[in-house]
Symmetry: D3
Subunit: 239 residues, 6 copies
């Protein structure tokens, strides 16, 4: 039995479950998906401040997982922490931001990303840039909605994602990456209305982790992602 | 039953078989690997001239496959034809050059490619560049051997790949992509001697095709890779 | 007497003649232009599939020319084969795609390319990128016409090229490259209506080949474009 | 009186003091330097894992500073958190990584960075890349020492920095940035032995913050770095 | 007493005075600003021709300054001469083009430049490119006014700068650099009407020079900017 | 009769003659080469300071040529002034720096430049960058000689160029551009000793100018290189 952790970047367990359910649809019968929700951090992550807070919470959470899973999916789109997870774990770690791009690139000449709020755009751009994947990104487009509006009306939100996708296509995208995770029903809605393939990052990342495990591949430990040295680290405890 | 074609770029059936055997190791039990060898072209492809000849042969071969397989692996490292295959087929097409990079990038900060002969280096660089994957490539290193030497002594050839890998690591690579296909035993040899993950393009491409099929994803048809128009094309017949 | 072959990428002899006629206008009195039309391939090339087919046909045709001409113009805009021709021939080879850019760049800060159909855009971008000439390309704009419409009404087609040129100028182009070959009368039409220099790739490539010949320069043979090794290659025969 | 906080990325107060002392040397007489040490996190930061932990600790610390200082120097070289600080604060925030590059670039054609350990190199590269400053970076070179060796012998450490600087110069650097903070005496040692200007990030960042304050300039709040929305964030309490 | 020269690129003394007055607002009480106007050259610089003429005039002027000032601000936005000044002087030299970008970059994700006339755009782009600062430049926008119109109506000119700033913001700029010098009142006008920080190049460059002087930093002399060799140079005399 | 001016960047008439003689070898029988030497400036140009001085002198000289020639070759390798000449003249202007690259690029995968002194390297890099031609430049290598040594012993100088060329080839160059002008006999010496094509910038630029003239092409005047406005410019007179 292969065990793959799907780790949410925020503390909202329902979003973890949505992501884990998506992951379960793409794996083989011998794979168990382990949903993981940090016990502290942010209810939802928008912006660098939230992202750095969530990165610390996720990394502390991942420390506890070492030795219990065969691979990790980091299910925060554009969120930080990816490289830290690669240092502390010996199993393969895939971030949904990069995975969506890896799967989108062979499907069309350029891809676009659609995401929730404006302030996520810069983070996603940085995440794709440092992963070496920005070259074929035609556009990263937000819905133009505020955080509160996103929660308010799932249908309006989904339609705003469709509109963002159409703008990305107009900018040259031939494939669309869903720049979020844990929004139930969004993927089907967007797929139905756009004339291009729509890639879900959780599905893509889970498939990549499974494939890496089956090929016996994991993070290189010679240099950047060598295991951290033991030292005095004062991990905070949630009060 | 899912059927994935593994299409060699040259006419040497034994290399097709080696690639197909590698592909079989990474797929689920419900996947059939279909080895395909072009009936004309080059016995082995080294350089652009060979590559363009092989691209035409492979594309003619792929035309005959349409409707009979669920996805295609193009098993020529650095060889041409990828985009043409995406036009004429409706199923997903993955080239081993890009697949190796897609799987290598999340495993380390930069990757390197080791390949057979000097004249392959430029082609591989172009292939990675047009796929948008060159940014994190630390080096593409050839064995320094001539074509005849490659065939002569498999052990010496494998050792030359190891030496090339060490040079790539010195240039910053933390992961190595095997820049060839169909050389039996090479992967194990190189893995045993290098301190970093070694990615095989056939395995990576096959896993990507399988994952795309399972996710219902295929080539975008809105623009670059729309089906070719019917027109007068005089495909040559092998004499 | 200097002999320069102008090699069409498709099988339509009238287009070869139009290109050859354009070439004759720019050469010295001691230069003979040799029109060459492949005997198989595509009636017109649109997209990668056509391009790879035409590349094989052109390369086979060029093999037969070796020793009979002093230089070669490859007259397919954005089509493949350039690097292969440099391997198999010892005389200089210039592709009209690159030549147009080489002549456009010193005439303005950025250049634009206007071409026939949408699917040519990506190919032209790749061709300029791998030639190292994309940096100063402001835009590659297609006419928006379908293949059939292009043949239908030469005046409407020429006007569509003018409109595409105006869009390229709006995107920053100060010079326009005609991204096609063999369309009689198009160059004059576009030049008359645009306020910027209009570069014809056939004229530019022919002038470059003539200049290289007169300077005693030809393809470097030390590495990328060394002559292919003798080996078993099964060139198909047109049936 | 202008108040500028110099915020260490780790919990070692002696390093904060060294940085604050350096800052005091460059400011006007009406500027007070406020040393700030996070109460939790890492004793020293090496690698992404440490960096993400320290970023969360620093950001929580900065939240408490809002309204009490006129500008902030983030004194961790290559460490994360910069963009988050810009979101939560209304006063200007300068990171020593970017500041060193900003001051080095006008002093020579290319600059180099010398840093402690190998695993810092990738982080520094990412930090300079996302700040838009990597283009003129000739090299980022580590001392080759382990973490323990760094603490052991200050003279040997300083000499290792000099050797790293010489390698950076050989790679094209005409100016050297000290890629660390809080190492007493290092700057003088390196300056004495290298034939090029040596830029200290703390000094550069403090000068930039002072200049921004005097010009009435602070972070743009229209988009990327708008203040975070109020929401449920569970900041951990150090146990 | 620190002496910083503010050197105009043109011969219009009133513009020198406006720039010097701006510089005086940002320096410490122990800093004297020395306004310098070339005795020959152009009344105003628009385009490369003017810029190269002014560069020669400015460099001849700077030769006479050596040993009399502690640093130099080159107050021509996008004008040439920067690197030559670094060769002939031993004190730090900062150009207002680069300084504006250095101060703008930490204030927002991308910056924009607003400038007078269309032909300045290319020069500014080249100046930022060769300084390694173009990566985060979202747009360089001109007012669309002719040279004569600029002089005609200061209010209309200032409003045209505001409109250019709004276009730059629409293109992604979160900070605006004023791409000119010596226009009295412009900075305040634009700051009042745009929702983002507005950086003045003269202020930024003067602050950088002052900071470099206080840190004992000056131009690297090992390579690119080593002092010119004595040789026969025939500097023209203004007739 | 076509008249092409070959304009030296320095005041040494013997170098102008060497360049003009080279130009005469490549043009048709109906082309007259007009050697032009500035009456003031530098005896030889090394570095930015010399280059800006020479640019002003050359531009003043070119003003006097307008209407008397059909095209201009600017025969200073890496020297400034190119864009200014395009503004003030209506005939085509080609700089030998760019021309060498334009002719080298189609002859091999990457080109290298060999030049006299170290301080020329940065200038040449900037010149190729702003011309959009740096992408395929493998290396710019200087001879390591001082200015005085260059004049001393032509044979030793030529051998130093050969050694620089070998280093460029080791760095990936498959074609070499001679990064200087007016050194009699150098081209033959280097060609004889290097295994790759050697491109002379004067020959390349002259051929490009001739070809542009024959095709009726000249500088675009819509934007960047529009004719300068009449205004007060105080051109100095050589005393």
């Amino acid at each position: 039995m292969i065990r793959i952790a799907v780790v949410n970047c925020n503390t909202t367990a329902s979003m973890t479950e949505t992501a884990a359910a998506r992951a379960r649809l793409v794996v083989g019968p011998d794979v168990e998906i382990v949903p993981v929700t940090p016990s502290w951090g942010v209810a939802s992550a928008e912006g660098w401040y939230d992202s750095f807070l969530s990165a610390a919470a996720v990394l502390q959470t991942l420390e506890g997982l070492d030795g219990t899973v065969d691979g990790v999916v980091m299910a925060g789109f554009g969120e930080h922490g990816r490289e830290g997870a690669r240092e502390i774990l010996s199993v393969p770690v895939i971030d949904i931001t990069e995975a969506a791009a890896h799967f989108a690139m062979p499907l069309g000449r350029r891809y676009g990303v659609v995401t929730t709020v404006r302030r996520a755009v810069g983070q996603i751009e940085d995440s794709l840039t440092t992963a070496g994947l920005i070259d074929r990104c035609a556009a990263i487009i937000d819905t133009g909605l505020g955080v509160l509006e996103l929660d308010d009306d799932p249908f309006a939100t989904a339609e705003a994602f469709v509109a963002a996708g159409q703008r990305a296509i107009a900018a040259g995208a031939e494939v669309i990456c869903l720049g979020c995770a844990g929004m139930a029903g969004l993927e089907e809605h967007v797929r139905d209305r756009l004339p291009v393939p729509v890639v879900d990052g959780v599905a893509a990342a889970t498939a990549m982790v499974e494939a890496l495990i089956r090929q016996g591949l994991t993070t290189s430990k010679i240099d950047s992602f060598a295991a951290p040295l033991p030292k005095r680290r004062s991990w905070p405890t949630f009060a």
